[in-house]
């Protein structure tokens, strides 16, 4: 069983569209959407939810007004600015428990917080594991780990060849949690200066965690000079560029139709993405 995670650094480069195509092209796989803040893969795969679980993680402090003597110690010691006027701002509270430990009159309790939901669903492409983090919640990294764990258990139970993971944008906590221990990271970039800048940073993160990378340039003909720059940069870094995908409104039209683009058109982008999947699956066999 091999695990591939699709990342990009910059958002909106086409991660989810490409993962949906892989869902359609790969046999024997489970899908995982690790963008727990703003999961979109379900919009293309039309899942039927089989299992929904509450995700409890972390704690939030709460002050009992009747017991509080307004001594102000908690307010003084909280480093997250979460106590104001003897009330806890749940959004700012990081759940460290400092206030709870030091309150001289035991007016503070720590309450578990329900931070979101995880889902296991069936789609016509196989199982999908995803999640929804509650608005303004923390611990997205832990929820990502749970989604991956769900996918791994299914892959083992069903003896599947691949876990295909749609990753979050950025390089921080949820990305690190999606990435660590994966067999391959496919980095989807675009030929814009921002895309290049973000690609370099996400390559850095993959190296930091020792995950091999492949790059794919989406909308390559938007700016071919920049595409060439990406390819020469990857060349000097010893990174393989697996595919160029054309700038084509069919990508967006397919999203509107709720389909992977390979099922929406037989055009050029479909051929390019099919070749990309062949490259990716060959790389995973190495």
């Amino acid at each position: 069983m091999k695990e591939i995670v699709v990342l990009s650094g910059k958002g909106g480069t086409g991660k989810t569209s490409i993962v949906a195509c892989f869902a359609s092209l790969a046999r024997s796989k489970v899908l995982a959407d690790c963008d727990v803040d703003a999961a979109d893969l379900h919009l293309l795969l039309k899942p039927k939810v089989k299992e929904e679980k509450e995700f409890w993680s972390g704690q939030v402090a709460s002050i009992d007004e009747d017991k509080c003597t307004e001594c102000g110690l908690c307010q003084e010691l909280c480093r997250f600015g979460a106590v104001n006027d003897f009330k806890v701002d749940a959004v700012s509270c990081e759940g460290c428990g400092f206030c709870y430990q030091v309150c001289p009159v035991d007016a503070i309790t720590m309450k578990d917080s329900m931070s979101g939901y995880s889902f296991i669903s069936k789609t016509k492409y196989g199982y999908l594991c995803d999640a929804r983090l509650g608005i303004a919640q923390e611990n997205s990294g832990k929820l990502v780990a749970l989604v991956r764990q769900n996918a791994k258990l299914i892959a083992e139970r069903e003896n599947l060849d691949y876990i295909i993971t749609d990753g979050p944008p950025g390089i921080g906590c949820p990305v690190i949690s999606s990435l660590s221990g994966a067999n391959l990271a496919l980095l989807v970039t675009e030929p814009t200066l921002s895309g290049i800048h973000d690609l370099e940073r996400v390559i850095g993160v993959c190296r930091h965690f020792g995950v091999p990378v492949l790059v794919c340039v989406n909308k390559y003909d938007l700016n071919e000079d920049n595409t060439n720059r990406i390819e020469s940069y990857c060349g000097t870094e010893g990174i393989e560029v697996a595919a160029r995908i054309s700038f084509d409104n069919a990508m967006t039209e397919a999203i509107v139709q709720g389909l992977p683009v390979v099922e929406y058109t037989d055009g050029k982008v479909t051929q390019q993405i099919k070749e990309l999947w062949q490259m990716v699956s060959a790389k995973l066999e190495e």
Binding site: G11, V91, E94, F98, I135, S140, G170, T252, V256
Partner: protein
């Protein structure tokens, strides 16, 4: 006034909108642009300011004086993040897990724990005329963006018009970036992905009790469901930017929309007047 530019979904055009809004205002105001997308800061790809100041961001982590330590285990018992462990006669600190709350050092009965700074990122500054850029950069391999965002926001100058470029998503880095804003501009695209993530971003603005309005980018490619949603929710659509390959091409070269197509300056000035009006109305209502 502080205006944050957010989106839920990545790659919808937050940075395009934030930079063009900032540039449009410099004839009239002192403007501060805070790039709080510290995982992938891109505003300066479009602004081209020379960064002339840089300051490291540290979070305090525990340093144990083993000569004083009696291995009582109090620190490990109270740490909410499992960032410190006591195993027989050894104390282990896990710096990546530590949030820097300071509880262990405060409660240590032997005063054996002091704190030392661990660098997690930098805050950089550059300016030109009326425009000042403050950008945060999370170090590669670091998980926690909020401490870097907090440092960026400490630089807010209330005498300026402040525009915040927010990271994608809905979790703690987004909240840290958006909170305290007078208005939240939500940039989306007219696709099912754009709509799904816009509804999440609207929840964030509601949670923080901040008035919001929408910018639809790449208008003309998808469907009209974003428009309909905004109408139903009573959220004003303040600006539409069409799907236009010339706009995408300017962006790819690192040229801001208002520099590449100066007629857009009027549109952004009108957008700003609309925002000012909505902020005034919402202040009256409160």
């Amino acid at each position: 006034m502080i205006v944050s530019v957010a989106s839920g979904k990545g790659g919808t055009g937050k940075t395009l909108v934030a930079t063009s809004l900032a540039i449009s205002l410099i004839d009239k105001y002192k403007v501060q642009l805070l790039d709080c997308d510290v995982e992938e800061p891109n505003a300066n790809v479009l602004l081209h300011l020379t960064v002339n100041q840089s300051q490291a961001v540290h979070i305090p982590i525990p340093k144990v004086d083993e000569a004083k330590c009696t291995y009582c285990g109090k620190c490990a018992e109270v740490c909410a993040y499992n960032a410190i462990a006591v195993i027989k006669e050894k104390v282990l600190v896990f710096p990546e897990l530590c949030h820097g709350c300071g509880l262990c050092s405060y409660l240590c009965p032997e005063s054996a724990i002091t704190e030392e700074g661990r660098e997690v990122g930098v805050v950089e500054r550059g300016d030109s005329g009326n425009l000042e850029l403050i950008q945060g950069k999370l170090n590669i391999g670091e998980a926690m963006a909020p401490p870097v965002i907090r440092e960026v926001k400490k630089q807010i100058d209330r005498a300026s018009m402040v525009i915040i470029d927010v990271p994608p998503g809905t979790s703690c880095p987004v909240i840290e970036a958006v909170k305290g804003s007078d208005f939240c501009l939500l940039v989306t695209e007219p696709t099912p992905f754009g709509l799904n993530d816009l509804t999440l971003a609207v929840e964030v603005a509601k949670e923080l009790d901040i008035p919001c309005g929408v910018v639809i980018n790449r208008d003309g490619v998808g469907d009209d469901k974003v428009d309909r949603y905004c109408q139903e929710q009573g959220i004003p659509v303040l600006l539409k930017i069409p799907l236009d390959r010339r706009i995408a091409s300017l962006y790819s070269q690192g040229i801001s929309l208002v520099d590449g197509m100066p007629r857009w300056r009027e549109e952004f000035l009108r957008l700003f007047e609309d925002i000012k009006g909505m902020v005034a109305t919402s202040r009256l209502a409160k």
